[in-house]
Amino acid sequence: MNKILTKEKFSGNVFRFEVEAPLIAKSRKPGHFIILRVDKKGERIPLTIASADEEAGTITIVVQKVGVTSAKLCSMQPGDCLADLVGPLGKATHIGKVGTVLACGGGVGIAPLLPIVEGFKKAGNRVISVLAARSKSLVILEKEISQWSDEVIIMTDDGSYGKKGLVTQGAEEIIKREKIDECIAIGPAVMMKFTSLLTKKYNIPTQASLNSIMVDGTGMCGACRVTVGGRTYFTCVDGPEFDAHQIDFDELIQRLGGYAEEEKAAFEDYMANK
């Protein structure tokens, strides 16, 4: 049982939780994720670790309400306990001194981007972050990202904050302005797809962190299959980060919808009986 210590509301549907997990707080690295189960009848869902406090023995996760499990989680309060939490899972981000890093985050994808931005900055890189969301209230963790970035550019679809436009527009401006040595993209699959297409045009090595459907998270089930460079990989043990230019994003997007009908029906059921 892992106790929720704090809960912060970012917007109507996005919450940040600080959860007790002393061993994971100690062993996790940027890029790692966890799998949790809300209650004894819950499903196992993967969430990337946004930050950790080794001394306090806590990790931070950011959750967006999209289905039954995330809705249940978002309704939990400090003092409540998660039934299960396991991790850290996946391979850590390969962080080295490369020069200038362009970090692109979309929506709740900004949360897993945070430890990676921190890692690259600490490794001595120049870091430029582009944070994108539909509107102002969905731009999260700006202060935390700023702490580890030389420059932060905000993009919103509706222009309610920062510049009006998509993440790719913000990113392309930077790419045209100065030499970028590496790009990291985390966010919705479509956002990563177009960021990848952009950086491919400019030949910038790019990593994307995938949010595939998973059950166990340890390589056992293969639900998280993804095609990279024509070969099938498992996101949980081979990823979650891959060379973005090699990822078959269309297949990824299709596979993310693999349980869409079941999930929609369950969510409607849940909301009706709440």
Partner: protein, 493 residues
Amino acid sequence: MAFTKEYLAEQRNMEWRAELRSQMKNKERTEIPRVVMPERDPMERAKKQRVEVNTGLSEKQAITEAKRCMDCVNPTCIDGCPVSINIPKFIKNIERGEFAEAAATLKETNSLPAVCGRVCPQEKQCEESCFYTQKLKKPAIAIGYLERFAADYEQESGKISLPEVAPPNGIKVAAVGSGPSSLAFAGDMVKLGYDVTVFEALHEVGGVLKYGIPEFRLPNSTVDVEINNLAKMGVKFQKNFIVGKTATFDDLKEQGFKAFFVGSGAGLPNFMNIPGENYNGILSSNEYLTRVNLMNAADKSFDTPVLLGKNVAVIGGGNTAMDSVRTAKRLGAERAMIVYRRSRKEMPARVEEVKHAMEEGIEFLNLNNPVEYFADEKGRVNRMRLQKMELGEPDASGRRRPVPVENSEYDVAADLVIVAIGVSPNPLIPSALPELKVSRWGTIEVDKETMQSSIPEIFAGGDIVRGGATVILAMGDGRRAAAGMDEYLKGIS
């Protein structure tokens, strides 16, 4: 840890056994027909995921079957058992009505008798080396049914005997994974007085016994009783813990763990890498069975979803394929098919499982192999292209090699495809221990007698060593590793 010939003879010469032998002539014993396992009606059971197919022997049936056993001077059956159960002793205890004593005999060497009585391929092990099979050319004593009978009797009686446990020696050892090899290892080590902790990555203890084997073949409650027995003997269980990730081997050594048994299983499903295999609705048997068995996905009150299919194809011919196709039938498939590239004769699944599947209306498309999948506009599989096969010369496994028949492709409707063609070793442990010696298939290399790996304090067994085998072979490995680790720890102290 097998019994010596002298010990077995001594046990056999005990008065009660001699008395039983004298009560009935061997000729009379051999004339008794082998018992038939009572089963639930196929049409009734094929609707229920959690109702066991085999219902177990009655006391009368068990005693009659036990009488068939002649209590041989040289019990070859024991040589066929990977965990060396004293088979004649437990069977003769059933014959004299001492069922609890029979269960205690099983537990001398087998920490999971109710499990083994259900899922062991006895026909290829103890029953194959039974005197009846070998010399009389008659059906073997139903050793598996009797094992299940004795173990169930004890579970149902509520008076569960625990094997004798040596005084604690204070030495901490760990098992990585909580499947059959680790449970067998833990049972033996705790009996020797070690302080044993079993680490499990999932939220339930039992490994493949829980996530893999369906409840119509092995009820979870049966597994839990055996796990609780280990806990009562002093084994500690730590769930949601991935050794090498949550904490490293070095972290655990710092906490005082002196040696490790790795039984992390072959948890990496194989796919065929054919076109269309990543369409939605095509999944591994591991995923399908985990969703249904471990996550209760077919029960609407649980949150995990499972895809249902009208036309379900399961690729493969092993026990996991049978488990998957019979699960699909139970979840409402109109057509549940096995697609297997060889013929019935080469099928690796147990005879009993194939028989049960046929009774339940499973179709067998043998000598067929999928070559491509097709999907609807949403990306959900709706059709598979099969190629006919014929059998050629025997291959390395001794089975006749399947050879494609040219221009034999044809299409079959399928909206759910479950790939059950085997598994590869899980990479988590080897990747956490770069200096560990692994084969080119990724299995951990060990000494066959002691199960010790290239790192002295690390032992391994089960599928992470074998690459894919049975519950009982994994348990045999766990027992050998326990003996090997005990020797090793005595040597360094």
